[in-house]
């Protein structure tokens, strides 16, 4: 991703409003509309996979790309995988951050 072209001013707040709508319409949908409305069974099953696919779509580029090119030997990939394993094995909510960030910093020394 290109650096240094942060959205600013009105555009930024417009983005916040859009993200808020994209959050509160799904949350409120059936609670507000009532249970008479129903989601088709197949669609409901397919939608369960949306968060997994979207989370990975955000995380993978961060770990695999360095300046836009695939680099399988970089500190962020190691840090990300270590954080994953730590979160898988231990319940301490702080540990993935401690281990992951330590590896990122070590990678620069």
């Amino acid at each position: 991703m290109n650096e240094g072209s942060l959205l600013s001013g009105g555009w930024l707040w417009l983005a916040f409003v859009l993200i808020a709508l994209a959050t509160h319409l799904p949350r409120g949908s059936f609670i507000v509309a009532g249970s008479r409305a129903r989601l088709p069974e197949q669609l409901q099953r397919a939608l369960r996979y949306a968060p997994a696919a979207a989370l990975a779509a955000l995380v993978f580029p961060d770990m695999l790309l360095v300046d836009g090119a695939i680099d399988p030997f970089n500190a962020k990939l190691v840090a990300g995988m270590a954080a994953f394993v730590v979160a898988l094995r231990w319940r301490n909510p702080w540990l993935p951050f401690v281990v992951g960030m330590a590896i990122v910093w070590l990678g620069r020394v």
Partner: protein, 234 residues
């Protein structure tokens, strides 16, 4: 507020309390990540108040920082939040004959943790007041806890050096969310396909690669689930 509501509130609060500890690092990281993306204190607190969704906030920050088009930011947030349509549909029977204002408030407050801890008991109860207490007390507590610790992160971020790659904490936070998901095989496949396809398709115009990647991931998970259940049916 009658006795039933208060009893529900106490029980809901007690059920959610252990899980709520996990919100603290998550909120601190969100606060720090908003500042290290370049938002001012006011912008960060404003975003946190109107959006109130850790995943959607952390997920859209890299896009905001890179000046991505608004539609991509909105679509990404929507995809990350689609799970709430399912939660909302599952909980809807528990909100029957509840006043509209309370239902709107409940929609705004709905978060993963309270749903995970409380949905089953809410749906099993026939007492409407007990259900509302059981939902609203932990939800409001989660909201306050979230706002306080995000604010700590936002205000504390200035004390941290700029060159520590702190924005990577947002990535780690998203990775920890993948952990419970990846325990189910079709979910893991959906994540792998979605992630790899997004990386491979990164050259597509208008960042469409990410949307196409997500759709491929959903399709892969859905197909894998059907294969798996067909295999079990034999």
């Amino acid at each position: 507020m009658n006795e039933s509501f208060r009893r529900g509130a106490r029980e809901g609060f007690r059920a959610f309390l252990p899980l709520s500890v996990g919100l603290v690092p998550w909120a601190l990281v969100t606060g720090v990540a908003m500042r290290s993306t370049g938002l001012s204190v006011l912008e960060a607190l404003g975003m946190n108040l109107i959006v109130f969704a850790g995943t959607a906030q952390l997920g859209t920050l890299p896009l905001i920082g890179a000046g991505a088009p608004l539609w991509l930011i909105a679509v990404t947030a929507l995809v990350l939040n689609l799970r709430f349509v399912i939660f909302s549909a599952a909980l809807a029977p528990a909100f029957e004959r509840v006043p509209v204002l309370q239902r709107l408030l409940s929609g705004y407050l709905l978060v993963d943790g309270v749903f995970a801890v409380g949905a089953e008991r809410m749906l099993a109860s026939t007492d409407r007041d007990w259900r509302m207490g059981f939902f609203l007390a932990p939800s409001i507590y989660a909201w306050v806890l979230w706002q306080v610790f995000v604010m700590c992160g936002v205000l504390g971020a200035d004390a941290l050096p700029r060159d520590w790659s702190l924005e990577f904490m947002a990535t780690i936070a998203l990775i920890t969310l993948l952990v419970p998901i990846a325990r189910a095989r079709p979910m893991m496949l959906a994540a792998l396909v979605g992630g790899v396809a997004t990386v491979v398709l990164r050259g597509m115009p208008l960042r469409l690669g990410m949307i196409v990647g997500i759709v491929l991931g959903i399709a892969a998970g859905f197909v894998a689930e059907r294969w798996q259940s067909r295999g079990e049916g034999r």
